[in-house]
Subunit: 143 residues, 2 copies
DNA sequence: TATTGTTATACTCTATAACTATA
DNA sequence: TATAGTTATAGAGTATAACAATA
């Protein structure tokens, strides 16, 4: 995408959105070799941490709508990375498991992702990274 | 959109993206009475500050592709808020002007936007807002 | 009645390529 | 040859509503 050299002259919200676009773009690029979307890679991580886990729980972690979680899981299942099985405790529900290749990919992708985050946010002083994390958490949870 | 009570347990990039979605959602909601998108409201602001201005310059300020700027300006022109005229200095190019109603809307929208930003980021201590701005600028401009 | 996950639908943002008119 | 802006096209992300099965 072409980037003009114009200066940025606007509000904090617009600045935030522009940086967010950079973050997303890097994330998409890192995942490109595996053909995963950011949501898919995050969902894979949630499944790895909470397996077996219901789609609604995954949606909660990712802060996305149940509708979106369905698409994300369809994609992951189509790639053979997760499996949906009936939930023995609630016949309306399902539980999601990693497959063997899903578990392997999770490690690979996680490594690449960590490297890229270290590169992008690593340019910041350590205190700034800590401040950013703290401030973002406050903004995520306030009313 | 339903929000599950699950805790956030992940990397800075994912946290960033989730907050970005909140920022975007608020922005969309604020603009809803006027039927403008975030890009359209930003473009309106750029036109107001730099009028007459070429589409490519607007794209540069918004950090979007020329292709996207075309859509944004199509929308604004369809609402009667801006006008495209031939650029007397370069017959390939155009210059964008505000219409009278565009100028009026710019003030209204700008006020609503400022109020909402004050509400969202206003929960942060003043030092945190300053830190956030500084850190985001660093992240926007690094390599 | 409420909840789980689905199907259906639509709009926006983003990205790439190719085209035109002009420089 | 390069540039300004356009048309054309496609893929994600996001959002709402409605539905079936089950609690």
């Amino acid at each position: 995408m072409p980037r003009a050299p114009e200066p940025a002259d606007d509000d904090l919200g617009a600045l935030f959105m522009r940086v967010a676009r950079r973050v997303r773009r890097r994330w998409v690029d890192v995942l490109e070799p595996w053909g995963l979307s950011p949501h898919q890679s995050r969902a894979l991580g949630v499944v790895g941490q909470h397996e077996p886990v219901r789609p609604g729980v995954i949606a909660g972690h990712l802060r996305i709508a149940p509708r979106s979680a369905t698409d994300v899981l369809d994609g992951l299942e189509g790639l053979g990375l997760v499996e949906r099985r009936p939930d023995p405790e609630d016949r309306r529900a399902q539980v999601v498991h990693l497959t063997t290749s899903g578990r392997r990919l999770l490690d690979e992708v996680g490594g690449a992702r960590r490297d890229d985050l270290a590169e992008f946010f690593g340019h910041l002083p350590v205190e700034d990274r800590a401040s950013l994390t703290r401030i973002l958490r406050a903004l995520e949870d306030d009313d």
